[in-house]
């Protein structure tokens, strides 16, 4: 199951229904600032309330496997090597070598120069290669460099591109610049799917997260993603809640589904299940699929595997029994 295979997202880089909205900076601004506001306390209370859901037995087993299938197994370090990426890719395909029933992750997520290596290892396993492009993580580069970065990764075989938005432009209110940048990167992606990273830790307010979500969806992003993992706070439940509400409302208005990817800071099975509960209650079943929801994570996978083993063996496992990659 790759996004390309089952996606219903439009093939154009933006939606005609929003032509009037994106005609000028001021019309775009009016639209984004006309979205219903977000009350921080109420939003956080709702997220905390959902987090108290108790998931047991069969539901938990299902949730763990689903979460594994949703992981974009990630390494985004200056010290990354081809060896490291190969190991990561192997793990993505067979997270628990001792248990063939354990599903593969959705993708591995690497820097563009590692795409070819990852692709080589993954082959036609069905595990996608996602590449962070557009001068990740700061996004501070000239437009043509960002586009070149994107094309590079796609040419090297990336199935998915995780771009960062220009937070400086967004925060100074140059929404149309951000819109056009996303649209152009989407062009450059060709058939690859585009995830748009907001770096919500820098956007600061939930109102901004909601506006960025609509901006990215209107510009044709296939996925909206919280964070690079390089800025704290990264993904949080309430930020993801806002983004889930946005994709839900966007489908209501346009009929188009957009995916959501919280990334960074999700380390435990307990955390992951909280996110899945939220997806279930805010967006419903349709989004409970790796095509529409992903976890950007690295250490999360091992915890999912430990819990999975606990579910099957009935005893608690330990980190020594899972590979460190």
């Amino acid at each position: 199951m790759t996004p390309t295979a089952s996606s219903t997202a439009s093939s154009t880089s933006s939606h005609a229904v929003f032509d009037d909205v994106v005609r000028s900076d001021s019309s775009l601004r009016r639209f984004l600032h006309g979205l219903p506001g977000v009350d921080q306390v109420g939003c956080e209370a709702r997220a905390a309330g959902l987090a108290t859901r108790s998931i047991k037995t069969t539901s938990k087993a299902y949730a763990i496997d689903l979460a594994i299938r949703m992981v974009d197994l990630t390494t985004l370090e200056g010290q990354d090597t081809h060896g490291k990426v190969r190991a990561l890719a192997s793990k993505a395909m067979r997270p628990d070598p001792a248990d063939p029933t354990c599903p593969a992750t959705a993708a591995v997520c690497v820097y563009p120069d590692m795409v070819a290596t990852a692709k080589q290892t993954l082959g036609d396993s069905g595990v996608n290669v996602a590449a962070v492009a557009t001068a990740f993580p700061s996004g501070r580069a000239a437009m043509d460099i960002k586009l070149a970065d994107t094309r590079d990764a796609v040419e090297a075989g990336a199935d998915e591109i995780d771009m960062v938005i220009d937070r400086g432009a967004f925060l100074s209110g140059r929404y149309l610049d951000v819109f056009e940048e996303i649209a152009q990167v989407r062009e450059a992606c060709g058939d690859a799917h585009l995830k748009v990273i907001f770096e919500t830790g820098e956007l600061q307010t939930y109102d901004n997260v909601r506006r960025a979500s609509w901006l990215a969806m209107m510009a044709g992003g296939h996925f909206i993603k919280t964070s690079t993992g390089k800025v704290q706070p990264a993904a949080t439940l309430p930020v993801t809640l806002i983004m889930l509400e946005a994709v839900r409302d966007f489908r209501e208005q346009t009929g188009q589904m957009v995916g959501v990817k919280p990334a960074g800071g999700i380390k435990t099975t307990k955390d992951a299940i909280k996110y899945l509960v939220m997806v279930n209650e805010i967006c419903g079943d349709d989004w409970l699929d790796p095509d529409w929801f992903r976890f950007g994570a690295s250490t999360l996978l091992n915890d999912l595997l430990m819990q999975r083993t606990k579910m099957t063996t009935g005893r608690y496992s330990g980190p020594d029994y899972f590979t460190l990659d």
Binding site: P36, G42, K56
Partner: protein, 480 residues
């Protein structure tokens, strides 16, 4: 499919005895009256036989309270009284899960509410008022206790209402005779055990179980100096009549029909949560429930579709399941009343919609329900339903919203949802209600005074203001 498997909280933590006596003078006694049964509203299973206090029993309790007042409690320093209250608060925390489970079993409320809302606020209430006991001279209300307080509480928040009554009374140096509601006596009786564990001097707290007659007996007892009641407006009025001409000081916390006002610039997703929390929290058995939704016409359709979508995700069922959002209706009587008023709503021409949910076969249940097309003249817009039933009205301008919101004999609470700060303050000024929740709803805190305008009663519970009800104003005539 992602179905949540049942996640029931263990019942093993509570030990329900087959029968309970009255708690008088520090001991459980049989009493001279008959007895009644308390049932689990989620299953209709009989939980226990509970003694019904007679006039004689009430008299014994008042005597015990008087003795404890004159001999011990009024002579004790505030600092020492405080220590007892702190002890009680700590024991409530220690036995929190047990209290929560028992509350859910006897009342029908979801465990997530009894566990995360009721019990923590109960403990916090005792902590808060414990701290006042030796600081009363700074309260602005003097430091002279009244004497014996007769307290009658409802079934919707059995333990929380007990805390709201007993904590300030004791902190101010009064002793109490408290009657829990006849359908929810068990946590009050467990609280009596907690008083024993805390070594509270005998007679300082007396718990007499029973129904209306027992309540009347307390209210009209000549040696009761203070009457505190939470419950229906009808009974509140009867109490106000009963104490007329006496020196009894009275506080009444009664019914409501709160308007929850949503403007078109509201933070909609949070407003929908606020609407849901406002009317479905505790099955709508909340005197300050936001039972009248006033939504601005320009956004009414959008709010309604979001609200219905959200209501469809509410999980109704076993109160002890940690994933339950809406539990059981407290009693067959209450269920009948909710059904009756809902039927009237339909016959008056309002459109009824209930969230799709499977209700258990046994027990008392009512699906979360919303009525649209309601006008001010409809009975479901005027009368307190005290159940999970929301009446939706629309408005066009802020003035119309205020007029409709205030157009009721009640005045307990109100909600306002808008992103415009100055409008919030203007609305808050103009709404005639004791609590105004702006961009939030149904929030409670020991430091925050709670109580109504008009027929929602008088006096405040909580905060510094809550002390006034239990201290003697030395000026003549002032303590009516």
């Amino acid at each position: 499919m992602f179905e949540y498997a049942p996640a029931p909280e263990s019942r093993a933590i509570v030990d329900i005895k087959p029968s309970y006596g009255l708690f008088i003078n520090g001991e459980f006694v049989d009493g001279n009256g008959t007895s009644f049964k308390t049932v689990n509203p989620a299953t209709e299973e009989v939980l226990a036989e509970v003694a019904e206090a007679s006039d004689v029993d009430v008299d014994e309790a008042v005597k015990a309270a008087r003795r404890a007042y004159t001999r011990v409690w009024s002579r004790m320093s505030g600092a020492e009284r405080a220590k007892y209250l702190y002890r009680i608060a700590r024991i409530i925390q220690e036995r929190g899960r047990e209290l929560a489970v028992l509350e859910s079993i006897d009342n029908g409320k979801p465990i997530k509410e009894s566990r995360d809302v009721d019990v923590p606020i109960v403990a916090a209430h005792f902590f808060y008022y414990a701290g006042w006991a030796d600081k009363l001279k700074y309260s602005g209300y003097g430091e002279t206790p009244l004497g014996v307080a007769g307290q009658v509480i409802p079934w919707n928040f059995p333990l929380l209402m007990l805390a709201w009554k007993i904590a300030p009374a004791l902190a101010c140096g009064n002793t109490v005779v408290l009657k829990p509601a006849e359908t929810t006596p068990l946590t009050a009786l467990l609280f009596a055990e907690i008083c024993q564990q805390a070594d509270l001097p005998p007679g300082v707290v007396n718990i007499v179980t029973g129904a209306g007659d027992t309540g009347r007996s307390i209210v009209s007892h000549p040696d009761v100096d203070k009457v505190a009641f939470t419950g229906s407006t009808e009974v509140g009025k009867a109490i106000a009549r009963a104490v007329a001409g006496s020196d009894k000081k009275v506080t009444l916390e009664l019914g409501g029909k709160a308007a929850n006002i949503v403007f078109d610039d509201a933070p909609l997703d949070q407003a929908v949560e606020g609407i849901v929390n406002g009317i479905f929290f505790n099955q709508g058995h909340v005197c300050c429930a936001g039972s009248r939704l006033l939504v601005q016409e320009s956004v009414a359709d959008e709010v309604m579709s979001r609200l219905k979508r959200r209501m469809a995700t509410l999980r109704v069922g076993d109160p002890l399941d940690k994933n339950t959002d809406v539990g059981a209706i407290n009693s067959a009587e209450q269920l009948a009343k909710i059904r009756e008023l809902s039927a009237i709503g339909e016959s008056e021409g309002a459109e009824r919609w209930s969230a799709p949910c499977d209700l258990p076969a046994n027990g008392y249940w009512f699906a979360p329900t919303v009525f649209t097309g309601v006008s001010q003249a409809h009975r479901i817009a005027r009368e307190e339903i005290f159940g999970p039933v929301l009446s939706v009205l629309t408005f066009r301008t802020p003035s119309e919203a205020v007029e409709k919101a205030n157009n009721t004999p009640f005045g307990l609470s109100a909600g306002v949802w808008t992103d415009k700060g100055s409008r919030i303050l203007s609305m808050a000024n103009r709404l005639r209600a004791g609590v105004v929740w702006a961009n939030t709803f149904n929030k409670f805190d020991p430091t925050s005074p709670f109580g109504g305008y008009k027929e929602s009663g008088y006096g405040r519970e909580g905060g510094r203001h809550g002390l006034e009800a239990y201290l003697r104003n030395t000026e003549k005539g002032a303590d009516a």
